[in-house]
């Protein structure tokens, strides 16, 4: 015995205190006691008094933790194991196992108000326990009472309150699930009553509402007897065993529908239950609706036919336009559940099918988006369940409607899950019903994977399905009436493209019905439909034109006069109604540009009609202002429509341009090219580039020089106009391709020997565009466009007359490309490299005068044309550096390499510098070739002196070369030109420079230069001494560090006896102290190292001393901002 009576008394009162104190317990202190208690049960169960005491004690302890059951967690396993061992042991006397269960019951009850999974387990455990025949009598009523009290008392405003309520509800639901109906039926009304009083449906907690519906459903099931509705629709005999046992081959019983006259005892409460469930179907959360739908299905199965029919009736009422999307979804789920259970009798189908088909297309606009994907998905579920539920002959009369609706959903739904669901439902129907027209063929094409890609379903699968006449018109009509008016612009455009592809399947229908139908909508008041219709009319007309072309007809053979007139008037009406303004204008503009382009392509008979003038104005307007809108396609569409318009309406039969037009268009465009607005400059440059040949003929020189002018960098707004320059280069290339090459032609008509040089010069100049702005090296766009231009121009010229490509041009082209293919931006390098190889291997005919062609071809074998990944620096640099051995390209290549070797990206620097070092090693100290290399380095440095883009990387590269001992060969001869020159260039570079990056980079170079004995070393050291007292503390510190390292690396620079002192000074001085404190130390260092002390120039000294203190701080601040600390 564990506790005696007096102890219990004490603890009992203590227990009250603890409960009163609430959640102040922080551990389960009585763990051992409880364990003892459980163990003792075995010994005491016969003693009535001891048992009572033990149970009492157990209750008190567990009750204490009612608020904090998580404290029990660590011990729960152990308790349950003990209890279960007792209960399971078959030798245990009934009284003992009863006791064990009692403890378990107490334990689980306290777990109902936690919020994790253990609550579910507790609920399950309790429900199983309480429905045991031996327990239910004495415990069940008390427990239900407890539940109802907790339920009513629970405060639904607080989290713990909701958790408790949810625990209780789920226990009750499970209880009514597991319990026998007869035992529970008497309690059901009161539970239902209390539950309704709670009005859980209004709470915001989804879980609670779901538990509520679940419990109501179970209560409902308790009210009515479990039975299989005799009236339900049954589809044949389904039991495998029965079927196999049949001796003779008799056809299966088909759909037995019998009326049951049995006694149905339907309590009143069932009405309340069904009401609640129907409300649950409309809930805003899916889980609740789903639970309600299952409830409706289950309960309806137990009702007499008459009542069941009323349920179906009520479910159908959910499908009204005044109901929310949630109600539609719930309704679909309920229909599917009913159908699956055979509770939707075939007689109801004529009513149900139209509703389901409506739901398959459900899409409710909500501002700029819409809802309804879940409804459509659920409607697919209904179709899927119908396929399983009914015999083919029952569905036969609805097959066409369902098949069409499912196909439309499979092909044209916006959401991938709906397309897949529809496709699955279609498959189920094909497999089980076998009556869907061409089901198998369609299914093979529109399978689960194929419908994943929307563009594919719209443009290809729809065409495949439309070949079957059962579906053609339905597909077209759906697009025309629904999808062209879709809220999503992407869908509208896709739909119009789909209509283009579908036109060949029904040209007459399109021309005679669809086009006249759509014309009014193109200028109607609904913006979406207007946009969709204009797009669609453009696409359909063009498709009709293509069909006509194949049959030697014209588009006028399809379209009647009024349609042609109607199409013409669309733009006129829009212009008059000012439909291109504002936000709606932004949507309409790309559509109208496309429309103009397509109608021009389709050769509609509007020649010499004033409408073409309007079109020209509209296109010009969009070219000019297109960029003001976020939509890039406005300008694109306008630009691509322009050549079509010119080709069709500005050309005379003799191929020449109609008089008057050319001047008007070209002079307008050329003057706009000088605009101050970058966007209109861009637009009109591209517009000039897109003009067809006959429009430019006779004015080529003028147009060309206008464009070339536009590629030049104007110093005032270099950064601003970079995109305009890019587009001018692009346009120039376009124009070149349109005009063609003839070496003896007239420069006003064609590229010839008189103007080709100026074209090349324009491209070469554009290759030097290194404009920087906040976006980085934006000049790269111009350079890339220029490289493309060089390729196009060169290959085109070579085809016409290889002699036009002089050695000078060819050399320059290759130098440009090689330089770019060693530079740092991966994308630009790829672009350059690919063009380089394509030109190298161009053989139609080969480009003449390529210098070092053989060497280049050895470095880059033909296979590199396809395989070399120029973007990867690890692949590119080992190859391109080998070209350093070609004298012609050495300079350009080194220029490009410098930027990469001295760059910032780790992998880029690593691979480019390693490749360069490998190349230099391969020269194996050949004095002559090293000298030429050194010459080139000096040349580049001289050329780009003070040009930071190159000179800073140059300093970094020199550091790498020096530290790797690449120039060791020159150390033997005193006063070699290279170190002298480098020193001179470096000093010049940092002269008057306040750029910390540059200064820091130069420190490394000076430290590297001290290997060269004699005057170079002396001068470098004195420069470093100057740096030791530089105004930037960071420079002083870095110099000290680097010098320290260098002195350790190279011997014999300082007298070995003094070396230790020098090193100590270098390492132990606080170099960021004020300059005036450091100067004596530095001077001491100079003495030790036998360097002349730097003398402050008289002029500057005076100035410096005056401003020193503030200068100190100012310079430091300056440095901080520059380095970005």
């Amino acid at each position: 015995m564990a506790v005696d009576a007096s102890d219990l008394q004490d603890i009992g009162s203590d227990g009250h205190d603890i409960v009163g104190k609430g959640s102040i317990l922080d551990a389960f202190e009585e763990a051992d006691e409880v364990k003892e208690l459980i163990k003792s049960l075995k010994n005491i169960y016969t003693d009535q008094i001891s048992v009572e005491i033990a149970v009492e004690r157990f209750t008190v302890i567990v009750d204490n933790y009612q608020e904090q059951p998580h404290l029990l967690d660590p011990h729960l396993q152990c308790f349950l194991d003990e209890l279960l061992a007792l209960a399971r042991d078959s030798d245990t006397p009934p009284a003992l196992s009863h006791l064990a269960f009692k403890c378990m019951y107490l334990l689980t009850k306290s777990y109902l108000d936690v919020s994790d999974k253990s609550r579910d387990a507790a609920a399950y455990c309790l429900s199983k326990f309480l429905t045991r025949p031996d327990v239910k009598k004495e415990k069940l009523p008390a427990f239900l009472d407890w539940c109802l009290t907790v339920m009513t008392k629970a405060d639904r405003e607080t989290m713990p309150g909701m958790t408790v309520l949810s625990g209780v509800l789920s226990t009750l639901a499970l209880l009514f699930k597991h319990g026998k109906r007869e035992d529970l039926v008497s309690y059901a009304p009161v539970v239902l009553d209390r539950l309704s009083a709670l009005t859980v449906t209004t709470t915001n907690n989804t879980i609670l509402r779901k538990q509520n519906i679940k419990l109501i459903q179970r209560l409902g099931l308790t009210f009515v007897k479990a039975r299989i509705a005799t009236w339900r629709y049954q589809r044949g005999s389904r039991s495998l065993l029965d079927n196999l046992k049949k001796t003779q081959q008799s056809p299966a019983d088909v759909s037995t529908v019998t009326q049951g006259d049995e006694d149905y005892d339907i309590p009143e409460e069932i009405e309340e239950v069904i009401d609640q469930l129907l409300i649950g179907l409309k809930d805003k959360d899916t889980v609740v609706r789903w639970s309600a739908a299952k409830g409706v299905g289950r309960i309806t199965g137990r009702l007499p036919q008459e009542l069941a029919d009323q349920v179906v009736e009520s479910v159908l009422e959910l499908f009204s336009l005044s109901e929310t999307d949630g109600a539609w979804h719930g309704g679909c789920l309920a229909l599917a559940e009913l159908g699956r259970r055979g509770l939707l009798l075939p007689e109801r189908l004529p009513e149900v099918v139209p509703v389901v088909i409506k739901a398959l297309g459900y899409d409710e606009k909500r501002g700029s988006y819409s809802v309804g994907a879940h409804v459509r998905d659920a409607a697919c579920y209904v179709c899927w369940s119908f396929a399983r539920a009914y015999e083919p002959d029952v569905l036969q009369s609805h097959v066409n409607d369902i098949a069409n609706a499912l196909i439309i959903a499979t092909v044209f739904d916006r959401e991938v899950n709906c397309r897949r669901a529809a496709s699955a439902a279609f498959q189920e129907n094909v497999g089980r019903q076998g009556t869907f027209p061409y089901g198998i063929d369609i299914l093979t094409t529109a399978d689960y994977f194929a419908v994943g890609n929307r563009t594919n379903t719209y443009l290809n699968i729809s065409v495949y399905v439309a070949q079957y006449p059962e579906y053609t018109v339905a597909l077209i009509d759906h697009l025309v009436k629904v999808k062209l008016n879709h809220w999503d612009g992407v869908i509208r455009e896709l739909a119009s493209k789909a209509l283009h592809n579908l036109t060949p399947k029904a040209p007459e229908y399109m021309a005679k019905t669809v086009v006249p139908f759509l014309i009014p909508f193109a200028t109607g008041i609904d913006l979406n439909y207007r946009h969709g219709s204009v797009f669609a009319l453009a696409e359909i007309t063009h498709a009709l034109y293509n069909i006509a072309l194949d049959n030697n007809k014209t588009v006028m053979d399809f379209l009647d006069k009024s349609s042609i007139e109607g199409l013409k008037n669309i733009t006129v009406k829009m212009h008059e109604a000012k439909m291109f303004r504002g936000l709606s204008g932004e949507i309409m503009r790309p559509a109208v540009c496309k429309f103009i382009g397509k109608l021009s392509l389709s050769k509609l008979p509007y020649h010499d009609d004033s409408v073409t003038e309007l079109w020209q104005t509209l296109l010009d307007d969009n070219i000019q202002f297109g960029h003001q809108f976020a939509d890039q396609r406005i300008q694109d569409n306008a630009l691509s429509a322009l050549p079509s318009l010119c080709n069709e309406y500005y050309r005379q039969n003799n191929g020449l341009v109609k008089p008057g037009i050319q001047d008007k268009v070209i002079s307008k465009y050329l003057s706009e090219l000088k605009s101050k607005e970058e966007t209109s400059k861009m637009g009109f440059a591209l517009a000039l580039g897109s003009l067809p040949k006959f429009m430019v003929a006779g004015k080529f020189t003028e147009v060309m020089s206008g464009l070339v002018q536009a590629t030049h960098i104007n110093q005032q707004d270099a950064a601003k106009m970079v995109e305009a320059r890019r587009d001018a280069v692009k346009a120039l290339t376009c124009l070149c391709t349109t005009m063609g090459v003839d070496s003896n032609g007239s420069p006003n008509h064609i590229i010839c020997k008189d103007n080709i040089l100026s074209l090349y010069e324009a491209y070469f100049l554009a290759m030097n565009d290194y404009t920087l702005d906040s976006r980085g090296d934006v000049g790269t766009w111009v350079r890339e466009a220029s490289m493309t231009g060089l390729y196009e121009l060169t290959t085109m010229t070579v085809k016409a007359d290889p002699n036009l490509i002089s050695e000078h041009i060819c050399k320059k082209v290759f130098c440009c490309l090689i330089q770019q293919s060693a530079e740092k931006i991966d994308r630009t390098r790829s672009h350059a490299g690919e063009i380089l190889l394509r030109m190298l291997y161009f053989d139609d005919p080969p480009i003449p005068n390529v210098l070092h062609r053989d060497k280049l071809m050895t470095i880059f074998p033909r296979s590199d044309l396809k395989e070399l990944n120029w973007g990867a620096s690890s692949d590119t640099f080992p190859k391109i550096t080998q070209a350093l051995s070609c004298p012609t390209y050495r300079y350009s290549l080194l220029l490009g390499l410098t930027v990469s070797v001295g760059g910032l990206t780790e992998s880029l620097v690593k691979h480019s510098s390693q490749s360069l070092l490998t190349y230099l090693r391969s020269l194996s100290n050949n004095q002559e070739s090293m000298t030429t290399f050194a010459d080139t380095v000096v040349m580049v440095f001289e050329e780009y002196q003070k040009v930071d883009r190159v000179s800073i990387p140059m300093l970094k590269m020199l550091d790498i070369l020096l530290t790797n001992g690449c120039f060791e060969i020159f150390t033997q001869r005193e006063e070699h030109f290279l170190p002298v020159k480098l020193l001179e260039l470096c000093k010049k570079e940092i002269e008057k420079s306040g750029d910390p990056q540059k200064l820091l980079a130069s420190i490394d170079v000076f430290c590297g230069l001290i290997v060269f004995s004699g005057v170079v070393r002396a001068k470098s050291l004195s420069q470093l001494m100057l740096f030791l007292c530089h105004k930037y503390p960071k420079v002083r510190k870095t110099t000290a560090n680097k010098l320290y390292e260098s002195l350790l690396t190279y011997d014999e620079i300082v007298d070995p006896e003094k070396l230790d002192d020098v090193l100590t000074i270098l390492s132990e001085t606080q170099w960021d102290e004020p300059v005036r404190d450091i100067r004596p130390i530095r001077n001491n260092l100079c003495d030790l190292m036998e360097i002349k002390k730097p003398i402050i120039k008289a002029g500057t000294k005076a100035k410096k001393t005056e401003t020193k203190d503030e200068d100190e701080m100012a310079s430091y601040k300056d440095l901080v901002t520059r380095l970005g600390y």
Partner: protein, 184 residues
Amino acid sequence: MGLLTILKKMKQKEKEVRLLMLGLDNAGKTTILKKFNGEDIDTISPTLGFNIKTLEHRGFKLNVWDVGGQKSLRSYWRNYFESTDGLIWVVDSADKRRLQDCKQELHSLLLEERLAGATLLVFANKQDLPGSLPSEEIRQALELDEIKSHHWMICGCSAVTGDNLLLGIDWIIDDIASRIFTMD
């Protein structure tokens, strides 16, 4: 909650099993299915496409897919939400000439990713015909012992008389159930 989730849930709750019945043409797949379904087996023509039948057996819901044996129809069973739990490979035991074909088809089928893990039941059908090979010989001819990737069993049967059909189905259900359904 989309159709996909509903189907998944339903499958677990109602113990649905998806069986795919495949084999060369004229092996007797449709006959077996009709026999299962208690339909008349006197008039059967080559299956173009597929049939799906749902049967109840021992508390399981069997969705049996009978897919035409022609090569062109292979794409059906590759698709769709419900993955295949069991494969019933039907062999015409009397068609000795095509056993080699049959073996190749079966082995290439088992490489299909979507059939990974599916239980394989081989029905050596048409045992009632004189001259048909016993299942032991079919087993060797099809090199069934080579199959390590799937649980399998071979079972001689006759769709016409119904012999052994139940035995095979019982085995495949047991095997599948032990794999996919957990105790409630």
